[in-house]
């Protein structure tokens, strides 16, 4: 299952894009889409842990409403200050998980991934943090 999962995911994703692009769910069109999805070249993939993948997908989806909250905070909140932080990768050896992590972190307006550091074990992140109150001292 772990070995078959990347193939199934790739085919399903390509077929979904094909169906959206053609907006046609007739049997013939589905067969053409399947053939196209199989014929397009695939990257050499590694076995995927299903649990980790579902968790990463869920966190990526949750990042969308969170991004809107952060955007509103950025628009009405205090002038933010810049900082650099780092966060551990979920699994630096699996490209799909790195992609989902980078997507999740960069989507929110407060944080942007700058790159990997420490040999692919941590993300280097540029972050905005709420600034000091007006007239107050920085903590």
């Amino acid at each position: 299952m772990r070995r078959l999962l990347p193939l199934l995911l790739t085919i399903a994703f390509r077929l979904a894009v094909w169906c959206l692009l053609t907006a046609d769910l007739s049997r013939l069109n589905l067969w053409i889409g399947l053939v196209v999805a199989l014929l397009l070249p695939r990257a050499r993939s590694r076995p995927l842990p299903l649990g980790e993948l579902l968790r990463a997908l869920g966190r990526s989806l949750l990042a969308v409403p969170q991004a809107y909250l952060e955007a509103l905070r950025l628009m009405v909140g205090r002038e933010p200050v810049e900082a650099e932080i780092s966060e551990a990768t979920t699994d630096g050896a699996i490209p799909l998980l790195v992609f989902l992590d980078v997507f999740r972190i960069t989507l929110t307006p407060f944080t942007i991934v700058l790159g990997l550091e420490d040999g692919g074990r941590r993300y280097r992140i540029h972050a905005l943090k709420p600034g000091p109150r007006h007239g107050g001292l920085t903590p």
Partner: protein, 103 residues
Amino acid sequence: MSLAALADHASLLLLGAGLVFWFWGTWPLLESRSYLSKLHALSVADTLGSALMLLGLLLRIPGQWPLLVLALVALILWNTIFGYVLANCSLASRLPVRREPPP
């Protein structure tokens, strides 16, 4: 109020909110700020603002939903990853270049 009129009003609201996001995020480009803080503001404008506009269009032209959904997904993925690429490129120019010692 009928459902169609409600959808019409909601789509206007979404389009307007997207426009506000656009202007708010594009304005910092003209100011003298750091490159990366401009990129933070741009992610508000480009990704989130445009997504709101597409949702507004989705309510307005529901017949075209497959293409609009495809555009929405492509926009969010592409914009976000492009933001990461730009940030990563800025990193390369900030780091000192490690040169081989001359022989």
